[in-house]
C-alpha cells in the first residue's frame, strides 16, 4: 500500500533539460500522508524503545555509574538534558519494563537483534532513481540510498565521455529485463541507469528516446537502432 509499481515522472523546465525520475512512491494523497506519518511515529517509538532496552542492559552491567540528579531541568540542547530525561524515564513504567526485559535477555542475543531492528527502522520505504539529461553538459544518474543515513549516490558523465546510450536485455532470475545503459568511453563497465528498480520496457524506451533527443543537438540526423 505504501509503495507502487515503479512509475515514471518527467520534469522538463526547458527543452534542453529533462529529468526522468522512476520511483516506487505513489502520489501523495491525504490517507497516504497519514499512513506515512503513522509509520514515522511507529519507527521512532520502536527505535527509542530499543535504545532504552540497550541502555537498561548497560545500566545492569558493572560499567555503569549512577546518574547525577538534577533539581531543575537543564537547558534543552545539552548532554545534561539527556541524562535528566534518562533519570526521569528509568523509574517510570516503560523504564522498569525495559529493565526487567534486559535482565532476562542475554547480551549475545540482545545486541545483534537490536542492531538489526535499528537498521530495519532506518530503511527507506521508497526507492527513487533518476536520470538528469543536460544538453551540452552530460547526463547524471542518481540512486537513492538504502537507509536514511546516507544521501543519494550520483554519477555524472560528461557528454564527451558518452559513447552511446542503449537499451539492452538480460536474464534476471526467470525473466528477461530491458534496461538502459550508458556506454562510457575508456571504461570497462557500462553504467546502468535505474539499477535498483529496473523499470518496465515502456518506461525504459520512453526514457531512451527522450534522453537521446534531449542530449544531442538536432542536426545530428536520425537516431540509430537500439543495441
Amino acid at each position: 500500500m505504501l509503495t507502487t509499481q515503479p512509475h515514471l515522472r518527467t520534469r522538463r523546465p526547458s527543452p534542453t533539460t529533462v529529468e526522468y525520475t522512476v520511483s516506487t512512491s505513489p502520489d501523495l494523497t491525504l490517507p497516504l500522508r497519514l499512513l506515512l506519518l503513522t509509520n514515522f511515529v511507529l519507527r521512532t517509538i520502536i527505535g527509542l524503545s530499543v535504545l532504552l532496552l540497550l541502555y537498561s542492559k548497560f545500566a545492569l552491567s558493572s560499567f555503569s555509574s549512577p546518574i547525577p540528579t538534577y533539581p531543575q531541568p537543564p537547558a534543552f540542547f545539552t548532554t545534561d538534558y539527556v541524562w535528566f530525561l534518562i533519570h526521569k524515564i528509568t523509574p517510570s513504567k516503560p523504564g522498569l519494563l525495559a529493565a526487567r526485559l534486559a535482565s532476562h535477555i542475554p547480551l549475545v542475543v540482545l545486541l545483534p537483534s537490536s542492531l538489526l531492528i535499528l537498521y530495519t527502522i532506518l530503511l527507506r520505504i521508497h526507492t527513487t532513481e533518476s536520470l538528469l539529461v543536460l544538453r551540452g553538459l552530460g547526463i547524471q544518474t542518481s540512486t537513492s540510498s538504502e537507509t536514511y543515513l546516507s544521501t543519494a549516490t550520483t554519477r555524472f558523465i560528461p557528454t564527451d565521455k558518452i559513447q552511446d546510450i542503449l537499451v539492452n536485455e538480460a536474464f534476471r532470475g526467470f525473466e528477461v529485463r530491458y534496461y538502459l545503459v550508458v556506454v562510457v568511453e575508456g571504461e570497462e563497465d557500462v553504467v546502468v541507469v535505474f539499477p535498483r528498480l529496473l523499470p518496465r520496457r515502456q518506461i525504459v524506451e520512453s526514457v531512451w528516446r527522450g534522453a537521446r533527443a534531449c542530449l544531442y543537438e538536432p542536426h545530428g540526423g536520425k537516431d540509430g537502432g537500439k543495441g
Partner: protein, 707 residues
C-alpha cells in the same frame, strides 16, 4: 554560429549580489551562447569596463601574472556579458539582460539570440581554504607507479598474473565489440568540450572576483583628493617607522637567515647521504633475481619505508612551496599537499604511540620477556610436543601405522628437543632483546611491530622446516600413488603428449607395482596426519604475520589527514560534481514572454569513504586472491609448497605514497639550492614595498601585494 538550437548556458555564482541596482556582468565567453559570470560590477559604465578589461586596468595589483589565469581558463580575455537590472538599455545581440532582486532567489535572464536557457548556479570554492571542484575524484595515492608495482611479475605469482591478464584481455575484447553498437558518432559541440575549462573557471572565480572588486574604483571617474597636511605627517611618520623595521628585517634576511638556511640544507644533505648508504645496503641483491634484505625482513622493510619518506619529504616540501608562487586557484598540487601532511602526521602519530609503547616495554621489560618466552615455549614447543606424542598413539581412535608414526614422531621430537635447548641458551638474552625492542619503538610504534614480526618468523623457524619436510614427504607419496594407480589400471602417463596411454606391463612389474601401491596407500593416513598438523600450524603463523602486517599498513598508510579533512571541510576532497534540477514553477515570473529556463545547481560531491580506503580494499582483494584461491587449496591438498604472498604485493599499499624512483642526492641539492632566488627576492620585495610607500605620497600608489 555553431549552435543551431539557441541554447544559452549561463554559469551564475550563488553569491552574486541580490540587489535590484543596475550593474555590469563581467565574465568569460566560452563560445557564442556559453557564458560564465565572474562578477557583477556596480556603479560603472559598460564601455569603461570593456576598455578596462582590454587594457588590463581591472587586473592591476594582481599578486601573480594574470596570463596564468587566462591560460587556466582557456580564454584570452574577459568580456562584458550583459547588463543587470537595466531592461531598457540596448545591448549587443549576444549579450544578456539579467534581473535580480532581493525577492528573487534566482536571476532571470533574457537574450536576443537565445531560445532556451540553462542557468547553472554554483558556489564559488574558496581557494584560500584550498577548496576546489574537479570532474574526477582526487587521487590520494601517487597514481603513476601504483600500477607498476601491482604488475611487477613475481615468479611465484606468475600464474595468477597470467590469469588476470587473460581476464583483462577478454574484457577488453568485449569492450571493443561494444563499440560496434554505436551507429552514429555525434560530433562534439563547443559547449561539450568546454567543460574542463569551466571547472577551472569555477575554481578561479573567487580570486578573480576579489581582484575585480578591488580594482573597481580604477574604472570609475572618481577623482582623488590630495592628502591633507595632518595625513601627510602621519604618512611620513609611518613610513619612517617602516624604514627602521625594514632595515632590521633586511639585516636578518641578508645575514642571519641565509646562514641558518645553508646549515639546515647541509644537515639535510648529510642525512640524505647517510640514508642513501643505508638504502643501498637494504636494497642490495647478490643477483637480480635474488631477494634483497628488505624482501626478507619486515624490520628492514620498515626502515626502508621511513628512509624513503625522509628522502622524499624535502622534494615534496619544495614542490609545495612553489604553490606560493602561483595563484591559489591552481589546484594541481592539492593532492600533494594532502599526501605530504598525511605522511607527516602519520609519522608523528607513530612516534607518539611508539614512545608510549616503548616506555611501557622498557619499564616492564622483565615481565614482558617472561611472558613472551612463556607463550613461546607453551605454544611452539610444549604444545607441539604433546600433539606429536598424541599422533604417535592412535589419535582419535584412528588406527595409524605404529612403526611409521613412531619413526616420524621421534624424528620431529628430536629436532624439537634440540631446538628447545637452543632456545634455552638464548633465553637469558631475551630481556635485552625486549629492551632493544622497547628502545626501537621511540622511532615509531611500527618499529617494534616489525621487529616482533621478524622475531616470530625466526623463533618459529622449526615449524616452517617441519612443514616443508612433511609436505615434501606427503607430496612424494602422493605422486607415487598417482603413477602406481595408473599402473594398477594398466595405463601410464605419456609425458610427451601429456595424456594417459594404455600400456602392457609385465607380470612382475604389475605385481611389484600393485604391492607397492597397497603398501603406500595404507601408509598414507599416517603421513597425512603429520602433514595436516604442520600445515595448520604454518597457516596459523601466516595469519599472525598477516595481522601484524595489517597493523603496520594501518600505521604507515592510514588516510588520517584525509579523513579529518573530509569531516572538517569536505570541499577540499572533491570526488566529482553533481547537478540538481530546481523546480521552476515557484520562481516563474508574472511576465509572460519569459524564455523556457531551467535552473540547475552545481554541487561538489565529496570523496566517498570507499574511495579513501580503496587501497585497503585492493590489498584485501589481493590477499584473498592469493590465499583463498582454488590453486592454493589444491596446493594444500597435494602437499605442494604454498608460496607466501610476495612482500612487494603486500606492501604496494605503503609504497603508493612514495615515488617509484627516489630523487638522487644531486637532484635534492639542486632543488634545495634553487629556492633561494625566490627567497632572495624578499629583500627586493621589501624595497619594492618601501618604494611603493614612498610613491603613495604622490597619490596614485602602485602597491605590491604580499602574502
Amino acid at each position: 554560429m555553431p549552435e543551431h538550437d539557441g541554447l544559452m548556458r549561463v554559469f551564475w555564482p550563488l553569491d552574486a549580489p541580490r540587489t535590484d541596482s543596475p550593474g555590469i556582468i563581467v565574465g568569460w565567453r566560452n563560445s557564442g551562447l556559453d557564458v560564465f559570470v565572474v562578477a557583477i560590477l556596480e556603479d560603472v559604465d559598460a564601455r569603461n569596463v570593456e576598455n578596462a578589461l582590454k587594457i588590463g586596468t581591472l587586473f592591476r595589483n594582481a599578486s601573480h601574472p594574470i596570463e596564468r589565469i587566462y591560460q587556466l581558463c582557456g580564454q584570452s580575455s574577459m568580456h562584458v556579458l550583459g547588463l543587470a537590472n537595466t531592461p531598457e538599455a540596448d545591448v549587443e545581440p549576444l549579450q544578456m539582460h539579467a534581473t535580480t532582486g532581493p525577492g528573487l532567489r534566482e536571476p532571470q535572464i533574457s537574450c536576443a539570440r537565445a531560445a532556451t536557457i540553462q542557468i547553472i548556479m554554483f558556489e564559488r570554492p574558496l581557494p584560500n581554504r584550498m577548496q576546489y571542484i574537479s570532474l574526477d575524484p582526487i587521487s590520494l595515492a601517487l597514481g603513476d607507479q601504483a600500477e607498476k608495482t601491482v604488475h611487477a611479475p613475481g615468479s611465484v605469482d606468475a600464474e595468477e598474473e597470467k590469469e588476470e591478464m587473460r581476464n583483462k584481455e577478454r574484457k577488453r575484447a568485449l569492450v571493443e565489440k561494444l563499440k560496434l553498437h554505436t551507429v552514429i558518432k555525434h560530433p562534439r559541440s563547443q559547449k561539450e568540450l568546454a567543460l574542463s575549462r569551466i571547472v577551472n573557471q569555477i575554481n578561479c572565480s573567487w580570486e578573480l572576483h576579489k581582484l575585480l572588486q578591488q580594482n573597481i574604483s580604477l574604472v570609475g571617474t572618481r577623482s582623488r583628493r590630495s592628502l591633507s597636511v595632518s595625513e601627510r605627517v602621519v604618512e611620513s611618520a609611518t613610513s619612517m617607522r617602516d624604514f627602521v623595521v625594514m632595515a632590521i628585517l633586511q639585516l636578518i634576511t641578508v645575514y642571519i637567515y641565509p646562514t641558518v638556511r645553508r646549515a639546515f640544507i647541509i644537515g639535510l644533505l648529510g642525512h640524505r647521504v647517510a640514508a642513501e648508504a643505508l638504502l643501498l645496503v637494504l636494497e642490495w641483491r647478490a643477483r637480480p633475481d635474488y631477494a634483497a634484505l628488505k624482501d626478507i625482513s619486515a624490520t628492514a622493510q620498515q626502515v626502508e619505508i621511513r628512509l624513503q619518506q625522509f628522502c622524499y619529504w624535502p622534494m615534496q616540501y619544495v614542490t609545495l612551496r612553489k604553490r606560493k608562487d602561483d595563484w591559489e586557484s591552481v589546484t594541481t598540487s592539492h593532492a600533494d599537499y594532502i599526501r605530504f601532511y598525511n605522511s607527516l602526521w602519520l609519522v608523528a602519530n607513530d612516534v607518539i604511540i611508539g614512545i608510549a609503547l616503548g616506555s611501557y616495554i622498557i619499564d616492564n621489560s622483565a615481565w614482558v620477556a617472561e611472558s613472551i618466552s612463556g607463550v613461546l615455549s607453551t605454544y611452539s614447543i610444549a604444545a607441539l610436543q604433546r600433539t606429536i606424542s598424541w599422533l604417535m598413539d592412535w589419535p582419535a581412535g584412528l588406527k595409524l601405522n605404529n612403526e611409521l608414526a613412531a619413526f616420524l614422531g621421534d624424528l620431529f621430537l628430536w629436532v624439537i628437543d634440540h631446538w628447545s635447548s637452543c632456545i634455552e641458551t638464548l633465553r637469558p638474552a631475551l630481556p635485552h632483546l625486549i629492551w632493544f625492542i622497547g628502545f626501537s619503538s621511540f622511532a615509531g610504534a611500527s618499529m617494534p611491530i616489525a621487529v616482533f614480526s621478524d622475531l616470530v618468523s625466526i623463533l618459529t623457524i622449526h615449524i616452517y622446516s617441519f612443514y616443508m619436510a612433511s609436505a615434501r614427504i606427503f607430496n612424494w607419496q602422493y605422486t607415487i600413488l598417482i603413477s602406481l594407480f595408473q599402473l594398477f589400471r594398466g595405463k601410464k602417463h605419456n609425458v610427451l603428449r601429456k595424456r594417459i596411454d594404455s600400456c602392457d606391463y609385465d607380470l612382475d612389474q604389475l605385481l611389484l607395482g600393485t604391492i607397492l601401491f597397497t603398501l603406500l596407500f595404507f601408509l598414507l593416513p599416517t603421513v597425512v596426519v603429520f602433514y595436516l598438523t604442520f600445515a595448520c600450524s604454518r597457516m596459523a603463523i601466516i595469519c599472525l604475520k598477516a595481522i601484524l602486517d595489517t597493523l603496520l599498513a594501518c600505521l604507515n598508510h592510514f588516510p588520517l589527514f584525509a579523513l579529518m579533512l573530509r569531516i572538517k571541510d569536505s570541499q577540499r576532497l572533491p570526488g566529482g560534481i553533481r547537478f540538481e534540477l530546481r523546480d521552476t514553477q515557484q520562481f516563474a515570473s508574472p511576465s509572460d514572454n519569459a524564455l523556457p529556463t531551467s535552473y540547475i545547481y552545481l554541487k561538489s560531491v565529496p570523496l566517498t569513504f570507499r574511495a579513501m580506503f580503496q587501497q585497503y580494499f585492493q590489498l584485501g582483494h589481493r590477499i584473498r586472491n592469493h590465499y583463498l584461491s582454488p590453486r592454493v587449496l589444491w596446493c594444500l591438498a597435494t602437499g605442494q609448497f604454498v608460496p607466501p604472498i610476495h612482500r612487494k604485493n603486500l606492501y604496494s599499499l605503503q609504497y603508493s605514497m612514495l615515488p617509484a624512483r627516489r630523487a638522487g642526492i644531486w637532484d635534492m641539492w639542486n632543488a634545495l639550492v634553487k629556492t633561494p632566488p625566490k627567497q632572495k627576492q624578499k629583500p627586493s620585495g621589501w624595497e619594492g614595498r618601501a618604494n611603493g610607500n614612498g610613491r603613495r605620497l604622490n597619490g596614485n600608489g602602485r602597491r605590491y601585494m604580499h602574502h
